[in-house]
């Protein structure tokens, strides 16, 4: 259109168009950008006070243990306290906390320098006790006493634990088929340790960069792994021999451990009966709380298993040693580069989603349905629309009224009778109900095509008739090429309708192995619950193929549009 008018108006016009296009595109993509940003965040990043667009980068931690500096060293005002009162007492807090903070031995801060450690601890301690102090005690006279009351040694310990990061490994459990599992207490091999343990960890190769220490608290024995990758290379490992009888039918093993929020990788190798099982994927040390990591030995029905896979699978490799009747476990920490850590963190949700559900199986089912449905609905809808738009036959108007009327009945009310028909046909729990219906044309598309076919000039058809074409030839050679853009639109609509439909599969499928992606995602949503990042990642994984397809196909599709202008 912009080829007319003066040069000035043309330029203004172009500018306006570009402005509108760019601002519109930005507005339309903001929610989508937020979706991507959310999918890159880890669980605790979702609950920020302010909106955060850029996901956090993983920290650089060549040394562990250390004090987490993310909480900062600032002392914050609790809600509800008068700002003026706060300004008056703010400076008193750090001195009031100093005695307890300084009482902490210097070696409690790990590899963090002592001064920085104490500052971080002061802030954390204040954060933990500030809410307990009544508002009217925020006076120079009363506050120090209140601080002294709440900030006791016990509280200091709790606050320090909250910001102290280390790799702690607790119990190891092994489970053979049909058994409920053996829980093993494994301690560090430290001379003079008297706690009873079932097995002892030792550092794999004696390197000075790594040490083990034992922490015993609340009846638990944990082994803390200290490392310094500034000194050593890429891997630091610890290993132990485990007392376990039923080696032949060992199925799973698990480690109770706490990560050090470093995003380093943790690998395991289990050697049993001369076989060696390496974890296929690393466990990422991002957590701060205790967790249990499960590893599953390879089993023949790995691929058919439709359970939510919250374990790490292992692969069998050739054993190096003869370990008949014995079980050796090696745990290794891999120091990864900043880039690798960033990659690991940003792809974490995606990999979890792919690992949790049989994604590719769902994709295949969806693809099958999409292909067959596009083919069927384009073909049959255009046939029927042709009959309604261009042919005269007795009963046409009654049928048209009936066809229109059927769209107006809400689908929910015909659900049960439809289900009974499907059941009667023996199609329940098969994919047939999800595609056979498209062979009969969709009312929406028939309506759409009819509207556009009615717009085609009669002379084209008459000319074809004079040339001796029959109705099929007119439909195929004259009408179809002219409504090609609409057919393409129908193709896209059908693709999206099928790709996104979850109500149909929900009704007609009961085997999870037959789920298409849409229902798989819906089911995943009921499992993943509050984990927004993982849900968004799964949703994006489901959306990306369609985006790619649209991006690639739209050029052909729009070309088709451009050449179809009908000269009236």
């Amino acid at each position: 259109m912009q080829e007319y008018g003066t040069r000035f108006s043309r330029n203004a016009y172009r500018l306006g168009i570009y402005g509108a296009l760019i601002s519109g595109a930005v507005m339309f993509s903001i929610p989508f950008a937020y979706m991507i940003s959310t999918s890159l965040k880890e669980d605790d990043e979702q609950v920020q006070k302010d909106v955060v667009w850029v996901p956090r980068l993983p920290p650089s931690c060549p040394q562990s243990p250390y004090i987490d500096s993310r909480g900062g060293t600032a002392l914050t005002k609790p809600d509800g306290v008068n700002p003026e009162a706060w300004r008056a007492v703010e400076a008193l807090i750090a001195p009031a906390l100093a005695p307890v903070v300084n009482a902490v031995p210097a070696d409690q801060f790990g590899t963090t320098p002592e001064a920085a450690g104490r500052a971080l601890l002061t802030a954390a301690l204040w954060q933990d006790i500030a809410g307990k102090i009544p508002d009217d005690k925020f006076t120079a006279a009363a506050l120090p006493a209140e601080i002294a009351r709440f900030a006791d040694a016990d509280q200091v310990d709790k606050s320090l634990t909250r910001i102290f990061r280390a790799i702690d490994i607790g119990t190891v459990s092994l489970r053979a088929a049909g058994e409920s599992g053996v829980l093993l207490r494994v301690g560090a091999n430290i001379p003079g340790a008297t706690d009873p343990v079932d097995a002892n960890w030792v550092i794999s190769e004696a390197v000075e960069a790594a040490t083990l220490s034992r922490r015993t608290q609340k009846g638990r024995i944990d082994t803390e792994l200290h490392y310094d990758f500034k000194e050593a290379g890429g891997f630091i490992g610890m290993e132990t021999e485990l007392p376990f009888e039923n080696t032949a039918s060992l199925k799973t093993f698990s480690l109770r451990l706490k990560g050090d929020a470093s995003w380093n990788r943790l690998w395991t190798v289990l050697e049993v009966d001369g076989k060696r099982y390496e974890s296929k994927t690393p466990y990422l040390l991002f957590g701060k709380r205790y967790g249990e990591v499960f590893f599953q030995l390879p089993s023949p029905d790995d691929d058919n298993d439709l359970l939510i896979r919250d374990w790490i699978t292992t692969r069998e490799t050739a054993g190096k040693f003869n370990t008949k009747g014995r079980v050796y476990l090696t745990v290794m920490v891999e120091n990864t580069s900043g880039w690798t850590k960033t990659w690991d963190k940003f792809t974490y949700n995606y990999r979890q989603a792919l690992h949790y559900i049989p994604f590719w199986r769902y994709v295949l089912t969806s693809l099958f349905l999409v292909c067959i449905n596009i083919f069927l609905s384009i073909f049959s809808s255009s046939l029927v629309a042709y009959a309604f738009a261009r042919l005269n036959w007795p009963g046409r108007n009654y049928c048209w009224a009936l066809l229109l009327a059927t769209v107006m009945i809400p689908g929910q009310v015909t659900l049960i009778p439809t289900f009974l028909i499907i059941k009667w046909l023996g199609w329940f729990n098969t994919l047939k109900p999800l595609w056979v219906g498209h062979a009969f044309g969709s009312v929406f598309f028939i309506f759409m095509l009819r509207e556009f076919m009615k717009g085609i000039p009669k002379d084209l058809e008459d000319a074809a008739k004079i040339d001796g074409c029959n109705y099929w030839q007119i439909y195929w050679n004259v009408i179809l090429p002219l409504v090609r853009p609409t057919l393409a639109a129908i193709g896209i609509f059908t693709f999206m309708g099928t790709w996104n439909d979850f109500m149909g599969p929900l009704m007609f499928l009961s085997d999870q192995s037959k789920y298409p992606l849409s229902l798989g995602l819906f089911a995943f949503q009921t499992v993943a619950g509050g984990n927004q990042g993982m849900l968004m990642a799964a949703s994006l994984l489901m959306t990306l193929p369609v985006i790619a397809l649209f991006f690639v196909a739209q050029r052909h599709f729009i070309q088709g549009l451009a050449f179809s202008g009908i000269k009236g």
Binding site: M1, Q2, L21, F28, S29, D50, K132, I133, S180, G219, R220, V293, L307, F368, I372, F375, L383, A387, F388, L391, W393, A405, M408, I409, Q412, T414, L415, I416, I421, T430, F440, G441, F447, M448, E451, K454, I456, P457, Y471, N477, A489, M496, W499, F502, L506, M507, S510, L519, L521, A523, T526, M536, S539, L540, T543, F550, R555, L561, G565, K567
Partner: protein
Amino acid sequence: MGRLKRGLLWLGALLAAAAIYFALRGENAGGPGIRLQYWTDPASMRASAETFENYEREHPGVKIVVGQSAARNLVEDPQRVLCSIVGGDPPDIIVFDRYAVGEWAARNAFMPLDDFIATDAGRTDGIKKDDYYANCWDEATYKSKVYGIPIGTDDRALYYNKDMLIKAGYVNGKNEAVPPKNWKELREYAKNPKLSRWEGEGAKRKLTVAGFVPNYGNAWLYLYGWQNKAKFMSDDGKTCLLNDKPVVEALQFMKDIYDDLGGAEQVYAFQSGLQGGERDPFLTGKVAMKIDGNWTLGGIAAYKPDLNFGIAPAPMKDENDHPISWLGGWAWVIPKGAKHPQEAWDLIRRMASVETALHMSEVARRNEVSQGRPFIPGLNANRKVTEALFKKYMEDDPSVDPKFAAGLKVFIDLLPHSKYRPVTPVGQLLWNQHIQAFENCIFAKPGDGTTAQSALDASTAVVQRELDRIVVPNNGPEVSWPVISAIYFSVLVLGVIAFAIWFFTRFTGNRQARAEAYAGWIFASPWMIGFVVFTGGPILCSLIMAFCTYDALAPSHFVGVRNFQEVFTQDPLFWKSLYNTVFMVLGVPLGMVVGLGVAMLLDANIRHIAVYRTLFYLPSIVPGVASALLWMLIFNPNEGILNWGLAKIGIAGPNWLQDPNWSKPALIVQGLWGAGSGMIVWLAGLKAIPPDLYEAAAIDGAGPVRRFFHITLPMLTPYIFFNLVMGLIGTFQIFGPAYLMTQGGPVNSTLFYAYYLFNQAFRFMHMGYAGALAWVLFAIVFVLTLYQLRLSKRWVHYQGD
């Protein structure tokens, strides 16, 4: 042309490949032997997996197929269970919400289990009533027959933040926090400005910290009613006592606290900003006390284990009464028509044992700790299991903070004194109506005449009407579906024959016209076949249903026009949902304007147009489920990007989905985001306008505006018409957002017609009533469409005509 053919060929090839793949894979994975279908919620699947393994090893030939119901709520969203039972292919065991067991049993959906229990009497591992808490057991019993074996259970108590209570001065001699003892104290605590806090004055006054909100957490009117000795249903089950004096007093008590806090709207605005998980207001000190279920203990242990809190029985109206609570939970049921009831029972027996429960809890514990959360065991309807779990995971575990053990103990001690929702065929309706009455009452303004009494009266009337119909059915003859199908098919066949006779004897056209008629029929036949087989029958069925009572499980009876009468005269929600739906029609022209605007921009001849097209089209590609999730994040009043963005330009955003006045506009905004899907149709329309028209106009000196109004718009009229008709029909059937995002709330502000209809059909199982609603909607849409069709003759311009 060649491209189209090639495209079709490619599709065909892909199709063949896919078909071969599926043929090779086989549709039926099952071999010989028994396939025992077990439906449960996905969260517990992993915990059961090892138990199933062991069962399968002991019962060779039996394979347990765990089905995920894939529904968020089996009871409120039960179309799948219902269909499977109606269709005669139900699972063998369902883990079912216990309070609904009686209601479904009344509809004859489940098998009574008494015979199994009697046969098992001699077995040491048999299921014995005495092992169970009596109230849990009775909740799954209907008309003295057992229909479900109770499993997990839960009850409610008062959580209080000790630090906040101490700070407000509620302490005893030893400086320990003292929770309120009775209703009077509870109300005083709640309105104490040292506990509840407000900001601002007058109209801007905002609740920022709440001492106590009666229905925040999980209390409901039921709890306060029971505390006041209300019964809700008469003993003979024939009278609904929802408007009895004790309930009225209880509701008044709740309303009083809401009013003390500044009125329900203010409290809801406060609540709308509240979240779960780590930001749970009880953990962050925004709520000092709440009545909630034992399941929230786990959240405290996970996110704020050092919170200084206590748990006490919810304060009674009279502190001298023994404290009570109310319980809910799950039960195993065997549906009617299950193929392998005996094997199902064997599995239930095994799963109900203490050993299995301990084992499953161990797996559940591992699952919790694997996600970094400590494990707090749940309660079980089996007394022995509850005690064993408490001992193993609380008493014998030195690493557990004693406050959690003490808290859980309160819940366990309350279990024998817990009430349960009345077991009645109208249970679901009673539940929804009791919420309805509560919302109507607390949101009532002083002037509009709604009191606790009147709100409860109205709700009671609805429940009682339904109840009367069940007690003394006043129905016409039974509907015989086979006869109706036979009539349907004979009418069809006779019609075709009559038409054929007419055509061959009276049709006046020439050979050409005959040929065209044959061609027309052949070309239209796909739709005709589809209509006869898949559409006509169900539609006819829904029409007949509209004049019947029908719950899908029991035979249906004709009731004349009663359903329609009720729709128009006795159903305020019908009007409410109709209003909500009509409101959404606003989105249709808006969507058309946005869609057309975008399409016109994209029609321009500009570089990188593919990128823009994709960007504008993106939103329509995002699957509905994902889009719903995303927009719930965006609309979050406190942390969503929408209000964040508005705040940047100085606008205080509303509470969107949580505000009854803003929920519908919010959904319209969301709909506009997806307006790109219409863009495709608009683009097709724009491209079909012959360029010479513009050239001619330009030569005549018409500017862009005139060209738009005199060429573009008139040439687009068929597309406008199509979008308008389809948009209206689509809007009147809007369902997804309500189903996926709002569940009709808040205060029924997004209860759209189709969603209301769906609820009537599946939640309350009023299929007949839903049929009537559907046909009323049909009538409305039909009239509107006819009107549009008639009008269209004046303004729609077809090039071909």
